[in-house]
């Protein structure tokens, strides 16, 4: 009887809003100290760290790109020597793919998915904290090695035999491989959290056909991560083993095979493109309806297109290997599948155009970037269909045509939507609006700068300029275009500079945003900006795809959750019927220590195989500390 009374006293049933806010604030509060900051498991705080760190890596990678452009601006320049140039393009590519693009997209998911599905924290929040520290450690490893002139110099896909024991002297290739292990470990951890959050923590009533499209895209992305990333972890581990303990995976003399490397790499590497691209199109499908003030045209086809893209992503990898001499039948199959992926992409583009057509577009900065994305991505997609054809690919393989193509699909297809997303969700994340004036400047500088920088690379490629050369002779007809590209890169960079200035200024002095400055329809706009630590005072109940456009100014909610422990709702997979009240873990420093122990083991294992044995002991200890119950309210059942 006593217990029952206590339990009922600690729920939110009889509290008014202010009292409830106070109670929840106390339960979900983090300590405001250094260790409190280390220990936090709030998905919003961790996502902000992830995003900020990833943008720091974007700036660093961008500076490397500028260094390459200075070197290539004129023939036979002496700005960078060949060895350093190899390091620069390797670190630029690895950094942009593994330390910027994938983490920043996952970070957007970490921030937005719990808010959009209507829950109070991500699933496995401590794993989330762990994943951030691991990501940070991997990034620091790469950049410290670059600062020490020991950075990898074997290209971002580190083909053997160049990266193998025979040619790749020193520890450069090992640092590349272990940086991969770090970032894939963190990506896999986040993928697990996203899958479980989306499947089990949705607001009551948010059945599968009412999930916001961004959440769908993140779910598909998470599954692609889960299926694709083991390949690269297998690969990075076997490379280190070949180099350290003499396994023969990639040594043809002992029955190994160098093409095995390419198969494994691209079995991961092509889905990787969609790991970056799917979240981006999810953002587009979310932002676009807001700025035409009507629901997306063709929710179902767009959702099916996301899933189809995720499946087809695994059937394309050989198109990166058309020139290595594979059987003709195989090449034809992969040509067909590579062209087939244009179909789901086309479905989405037509749905977006129909949405734009049938609404009244409001041309704010996020919409500008979305339109910039559609234009740029269509161009990149068209060159994609071109290089899917074997005879064409054989001509332009390893030339600047390919460099142009993948910058069009990666910057056009992912960075434009990402910046649109930052302009769109910045008010939610910080409580302040970004500047519309600076936003327009940023858009036009980035858009024009981007096309002036990368379009001429198509022509350079057709003129035969190979990628990854540190200089070229004055007799080659490439000088003029290279100078134009280098000058245009300055315009592009100035656009990013304006964007960063806007972020910094708006952070402190932007106009207050309020709950829902864009009059958007999804749940993340139902609470104050920035959201309170517990996200939702009461968990919303959803009966439509666009809950905030239901025409009522009231939000249907669930009551009866406890306030004396961190509690959220678990719901069924398909219909999102509530199944249980589940506790959400409290802050803990153990994930941080587990990440430190893991980092020591991983870096040590570059030098000695015994690191796996001895390094695992501290990891086991920290994991036990992490999971050992502390006898608190969250442990009750």
């Amino acid at each position: 009887m006593m217990i029952e009374q206590r339990a009922s006293a600690a729920t939110d049933v009889d509290l008014d809003d202010a009292e409830l806010d106070r109670e929840l604030d106390r339960t979900w509060a983090a300590r405001t100290s250094f260790w409190g900051a280390i220990a936090t498991v709030d998905h919003k705080v961790i996502a902000r760290r992830y995003i900020a760190t990833a943008f720091v890596f974007l700036v660093l990678g961008g500076l490397l790109a500028l260094a390459m452009r200075i070197q290539l601006a004129q023939p036979e320049a002496r700005f960078i020597d060949a060895g350093r140039y190899n390091q620069i393009f390797t670190v630029h590519g690895s950094n942009m793919m593994f330390l910027f693009a994938v983490p920043v997209m996952e970070a957007m998911a970490v921030y937005l998915v719990p808010l959009m599905v209507g829950t109070r924290n991500i699933a496995f929040p401590r794993l989330n904290a762990f994943s951030y520290w691991i990501f940070l450690a991997g990034g620091i490893l790469l950049w410290i090695s670059f600062a020490l002139d020991t950075a990898p110099d074997v290209g971002w896909f580190a083909y053997v035999p160049l990266s193998g024991p025979e040619y790749g002297a020193g520890k450069r290739a090992d640092i590349w491989a272990q940086m991969i292990t770090f970032t894939e470990l963190s990506a896999l951890a986040v993928a697990v959290e996203i899958v479980v959050t989306v499947l089990k923590q949705r607001a009551p009533g948010m059945s599968l056909d009412r999930i916001p499209l961004l959440v769908w895209s993140m779910l598909v992305m998470a599954f692609v991560v889960i299926m694709a990333m083991p390949a690269i972890m297998f690969e990075s581990s076997t490379l280190i083993m070949d180099r350290l303990v003499g396994t023969q995976f990639y040594n043809p003399a002992e029955g190994g095979d160098v093409l095995l490397w390419q198969h494994l790499f691209w079995f991961f590497g092509h889905p990787e493109v969609y790991i970056i691209f799917l979240p981006a199109v999810g953002m587009v499908s979310t932002i676009l309806p807001t700025f035409v003030q009507r629901p997306i045209f063709g929710y179902l086809p767009v959702m099916m297109a996301l899933i189809a893209t995720g499946v087809l992503a695994f059937g394309l990898w050989v198109h990166h290997m058309f020139v290595v001499g594979l059987p003709r039948l195989g090449e034809s199959f992969f040509t067909a599948s590579s062209m087939a992926i244009a179909i789901p992409a086309g479905v989405q583009i037509f749905c977006w155009l129909a949405t734009l057509w049938s609404g009244r577009p409001i041309f704010k900065t996020p919409l500008l970037f979305v339109i910039g994305f559609i234009i740029t991505f269509v161009i990149g997609g068209l060159t994609g269909v071109m290089v899917a054809s074997v005879p064409f690919d054989a001509q332009v393989h390893d030339t600047y045509f390919v460099v142009a193509h993948f910058h069009y699909v990666l910057i056009g297809g992912a960075v434009f939507p990402l910046i649109a997303g930052i302009y769109y969700w910045f008010p939610k994340m910080t409580g302040r609006m970004m500047s519309e004036r600076l936003g327009r400047w940023a858009f036009w500088l980035i858009f024009v700068g981007f096309h002036l920088t990368f379009f001429p690379m198509h022509i350079l490629g057709l003129q035969g300029m190979p990628r990854r050369i540190y200089t070229y002779q004055p007799e080659m007809p490439w000088g003029g275009l290279n100078l134009l590209i280098s000058l245009s890169a300055v315009i592009l960079s100035s656009g990013f500079l304006v964007f960063f200035i806007d972020v910094a200024r708006s952070w402190s002095t932007g106009r207050p945003a309020g709950q829902n400055p864009w009059n958007a329809s999804t749940l993340e706009w139902a609470m104050n900006s920035p959201p309170p630590r517990y996200n939702f005072r009461r968990i919303p109940v959803v009966d439509t795809r666009d809950p905030l456009w239901s025409g009522s100014d009231e939000l249907p909610v669930a009551s009866g959750l406890r306030t004396d422990r961190r509690e959220l709702l678990i719901s069924s997979v398909v219909e999102a019927l509530p199944e249980a009240r589940e506790s959400s873990p409290r802050d803990s420093v153990w994930p941080f220590w587990a990440a430190i122990a893991t980092s020591i083991m991983l870096i040590w294992s570059i030098f000695s195989p015994w690191a796996i044995v001895w390094g695992s002991i501290p990891i086991a200890i920290t994991l036990i500390g992490w999971f050992w119950p502390k006898g608190i309210a969250e442990d009750e059942s």
């Binding site: 009922s8 049933v13 809003d17 699933a123 496995f124 896999l188 993928a191 697990v192 899958v195 479980v196 089990k200 009551p204 889960i226 299926m227 990333m229 083991p230 390949a231 297998f234 083993m241 303990v245 003499g246 396994t247 023969q248 995976f249 040594n251 002992e254 029955g255 190994g256 095979d257 095995l260 198969h263 494994l264 139902a526 009461r538 109940v541 100014d553 009231e554 939000l555 249907p556 909610v557 669930a558 009551s559 009866g560 959750l561 406890r562 709702l569 678990i570 069924s572 509530p578 199944e579 249980a580 009240r581 589940e582 506790s583 086991a620 119950p629 006898g631 442990d635 009750e636 059942s637």
Partner: protein, 200 residues
Amino acid sequence: MKERPVLDVSKLPLHGMGTASPAWWGTCTFMLIEGSAFGLAIAVYFYLMSLAPHWPPDAPPPDLFAGTCLTVLLLASVVPNVLVSRWAQQRKLGRVRIGLIVMSLCGMAPLAFRIFEFPAQHVSWDESAYGSIVWTILGLHTVHIITDLIDTLVLACLMFSRHGDNIRRYGDVEDNALYWNFVVIAWLPLYACIYWVPRL
């Protein structure tokens, strides 16, 4: 926005079991990751086999004894494993405690045979790509046995502590049993691959 309560969840349990538990789903997702890795290892095995003029190259097929004993042991361990899981579902603390001790032994015994599996391959990891992939598969699976063994040992300690009699722990025991089943089932194609494919 003004909030209008339309649903009372105060009668829901404080923790879900089985598919209502995020930990169960987390375990399944991890199994999907690990399963992908095992699948890749098998794919690499067959890829290397397709390149070799004969298989296994320059070595007799591996001796069956240690590997087969280990396989039988693993399969037999499924029986107590399923029982522990069932007892956990029924929240029988005493039986779960005994079951976890048995399962800890079931985790250790295969390791004794595993030690002899490596020499039974008649090839070292650095002799050929064949040796590399076989040792890697064995090593990868051994890591899974050891991980689950440590997990079981820690859980056994937990169940003897004051934190033991808690639905949450019983759920942990069930998830641990689920993972052990995965470790056993994942071994079967690996066993067929290592020991029987070279005899085809």
